[in-house]
């Protein structure tokens, strides 16, 4: 009987902790002293392990910025690689605290999959890539083609819609990861690879001679990519949201990886910058963090512009122009809410 008693108490206790675990992601992250960040299985420029096994890329840098703000150290990140299909289950089951994985914000993901989207950090759209040798110049010429498509993505749904509205047929070749897509495309199992234009740029850069592959002019969808957290923890959502906003505002105000900590140490004469880097006001406290949260996030990997240029910008193999992703006052649409 004693044993049964013990077992039952154990069961009851775990039941309680299991439920309590939902309460505060911030506390969980602090207790673990590590941020579990959901990323891709490997998409160079966005998130992929380098030769030393260190995750690099645009999404990886956002993970580190959040870790720097919350835990004080941008390296306290455990990267959780996921496919397009597993990412949301992983987030919702608590295998990750936050998600940065080329993820498009949509109504159904918000309302049905129960995700809360952080501000968009990359404006993208779906495109098509074909071998130049096929001589195709427009997506409307793709009737009857075999198309490699990553399952569990918005791009899979857009693809079905696009071919349907244009009344042309295709053979979907479903793949799980970008790597698998690349292999099938190279082998000629599919004539076309379609995904976010940024993903195409990353994949195209992998070829010895990228000029042998063309990205067709049609962009068939809006893919506003952003981070996400689980529904039900508004405090944690706010932290993610304002880290992203802080990085974008930092670019606008000229706060950089190099000067962020210095600015934070002295009260300057620009109150907006002072509030951002925490030399004035109590913005960090309001979020449940400390005053220097944003300064550390910026010092970790730089402001938005620095992260962009380093990972995906014109001087990287991906060569993606800023375009829509320039600041609102530089011809783009990045317009972050003010920190005040």
């Amino acid at each position: 009987m004693k044993l049964i008693n013990k077992v039952l108490t154990g069961v009851a206790l775990t039941a309680m902790t299991a439920t309590a675990a939902q309460a505060s992601t911030l506390e969980d992250v602090r207790a673990a002293d590590e941020l579990k960040c959901i990323v891709t299985t490997g998409l160079a420029g966005f998130a992929a392990p380098d030769a030393n096994g260190r995750w690099e890329g645009f999404d990886a840098d956002f993970c580190r910025a959040v870790a720097a703000a919350v835990l004080g150290d941008g390296d306290k990140v455990q990267f959780v690689p996921t496919t397009g299909k597993t990412r949301f289950t992983m987030l919702n089951s608590g295998e990750g605290d936050i998600l940065f994985r080329n993820t498009t914000e949509t109504l159904s993901r918000d309302a049905d999959l129960k995700l809360s989207f952080l501000p968009v950090n990359f404006y993208d759209g779906q495109g098509f890539m074909v071998p130049a040798s096929l001589g195709v110049s427009s997506a409307t010429e793709l009737d009857g083609a075999s198309v490699c498509i990553q399952t569990g993505t918005t791009t899979e749904l857009n693809l079905a819609d696009y071919f349907r509205t244009n009344g042309i047929s295709y053979e979907p070749v479903p793949i799980e990861t970008n790597e698998e897509g690349f292999t099938n495309y190279v082998a000629g199992r599919c004539d076309v690879y379609t995904t976010d234009a940024s993903g195409l740029a990353s994949t195209r850069a992998k070829f010895d001679d990228p000029t042998q592959h063309v990205v067709l002019p049609e962009i068939i969808s809006k893919e506003p990519l952003g981070g996400a957290v689980r529904h039900g923890d508004d405090e944690w959502f706010d932290i993610g949201k304002w880290v992203v906003n802080a990085l974008i505002n930092a670019e606008e105000m000229g706060v950089t990886q190099a000067n962020a900590m210095n600015l934070a140490a002295n009260v300057g004469n620009n109150p907006s910058i002072n509030r951002l880097v925490g030399s004035e006001g109590n913005m960090g406290e309001m979020l449940g963090l400390d005053a220097k949260w944003a300064a550390r996030a910026i010092a970790q990997g730089g402001n938005y512009g620095e992260i962009y240029e380093r990972n995906v910008g014109p001087n990287t193999p991906l060569q993606i122009e800023r375009g829509l992703n320039a600041l609102w006052n530089k011809g783009g649409v990045l317009y972050a809410a003010p920190i005040r």
Binding site: I4, V7, L8, V11, A15, A18, T19, Q22, G84, K85, T86, F88, T89, N92, S93, S108, R109, D112, L113, K114, L134, L142, D143, G144, A145, S146, T151, G152, E156, L157, L159, A160, D161, F163, R164, Y170, E171, P172, V173, P174, I175, E176, E180, T183, N184, A187, G188, R189, D191, R230, H231, G232
Partner: protein, 394 residues
């Protein structure tokens, strides 16, 4: 030593009674198991509720919005998730059934080869079995798929078999039949042929039992089921039109295509399972006392008839039970389809639908229920067959 005095406490007495005790233990065990499941389910429900999710199967009637390349029933992106599930189920059943047939044929061949007196034949079977069954089936699948998509030509350079069949890295293209209105007559002849064959086999058996006269049953039956309908088919002026595949743009249009994903999965599952079946068949045959073969030979019964009438019927009794579990393995291993993008039940309802709707619990329950049903179906059929071939004691 004194015998233990029966306790006066009725509870203790009940505990010392072997039968009551076993009942008590069983009740406790059942209670523990039930509370364990109750806990898991409650935990899931509570945690789902915490992020605002309920459990509901209504999503099955919403548009699936994604396309599936291999669908044997009508399906498009405007079909609902339920239809997508059926498409996936059919694909699972198709590859499992085709796999079971091929694995059985190969397996029996391997088993017999293993017992061959020919050194080379025996060694080939031995090496095959040892290699194939010691490499995980997933690797076989990936290897075959990689081979097909890399080694076979692209559609433009297809291997062309008489302008009718084509093989390339998009699959095997073949003509599909389009039945004309008169075709039902041919169908009727086939059905009639089968009915005749059934009657004729019994009749021939009876005649043989009574008079010892043996008809060429197999020949006559084949003539009834195959040759006669064929003759009728031509008399009616070939009432099938063939839709022959032809290269149009990127791919072949028309006909039926067997995709690389199906071929790779089907062959890999069959090759792999055949290695195990081969060993089972060998064990089954070895289990039959050699004296029986010798006795049959002494009676002047031919080798093939000895095998057919003496060895195989008895070996089957040893073979069927482990064969059943190989069939179950094959059916369940078919879920590795995911690795190469064959759209089975796991890839459709358990994969894309799950991800697009966020209904993890519901989709996984459906997939589990379906695999359970498939497994039970296989077991039932095999048990029925097993009972049928059991020794009837007279």
């Amino acid at each position: 030593m004194s015998t233990p005095t029966p306790s006066t406490n009725p509870l203790l007495r009940a505990w010392y009674d072997k039968e009551t005790r076993s009942i008590i233990v069983q009740i406790i065990a059942a209670a523990l198991i039930l509370s364990f499941f109750a806990y898991i389910i409650n935990n899931a429900v509570v945690n789902l509720a915490a992020i605002g999710k309920d459990i509901s199967f209504n999503f099955l009637w919403q548009n699936a919005s994604y396309d599936i390349n291999q669908h044997l029933i009508e399906y498009s992106s405007t079909s609902n998730h339920f239809t997508a599930m059926i498409v996936g189920l059919i694909n699972t059943l198709l590859v499992a059934a085709a796999g079971i047939v091929l694995a059985t044929m190969l397996g029996f061949m391997l088993g017999v080869m293993r017992l061959s007196n020919n050194w080379l034949t025996q060694k080939i079977a031995y090496v095959y079995i040892e290699y194939v069954r010691n490499v995980p089936v997933l690797l076989h699948i990936l290897l075959l798929h990689g081979l097909i998509i890399n080694a076979l030509p692209r559609p433009k350079g297809s291997y062309n078999f008489g302008d009718t069949f084509f093989l390339n890295n998009r699959g095997f293209q073949m003509p599909s039949p389009e039945f004309q209105s008169l075709f039902w007559i041919v169908g009727a002849f086939v059905v009639a042929g089968i009915a005749f064959a059934w009657w004729f086999s019994r009749h021939a058996q009876k005649v043989q039992d009574e008079t010892g006269k043996a008809y060429p049953v197999a020949m006559i039956n084949i003539a009834a089921i195959v040759l006669l309908p064929f003759a009728v088919y031509f008399v009616l002026g070939s009432p099938i039109e063939w839709d022959v595949p032809a290269l149009k743009g990127f791919n072949f249009k028309g006909g039926i295509v067997v995709r690389p994903e199906f071929i790779a999965l089907w062959l890999a599952l069959s090759f792999y399972t055949a290695a195990f079946i081969g060993e089972i068949v060998r064990a089954g045959i070895v289990a039959i006392n050699h004296g029986q073969t010798e006795a049959a030979q002494a009676l002047g019964i031919s080798n093939s008839r000895t095998l057919k009438l003496v060895v195989i019927p008895q070996a089957l009794r040893v073979i069927i039970p482990p064969l059943t579990s190989q069939y179950l393995n094959l059916a369940k291993n078919s879920s590795l389809a995911l690795a190469i993008g064959y759209m089975d039940i796991v890839a459709t309802i358990g994969g894309i639908s799950l991800n697009q709707t966020g209904r993890e619990m519901e989709c996984m329950l459906i997939v589990m229920a379906i695999y359970l049903a498939i497994s039970l179906l296989i077991s039932t059929v095999m048990n029925w067959y097993n009972n049928r071939i059991q020794l009837v004691e007279r």
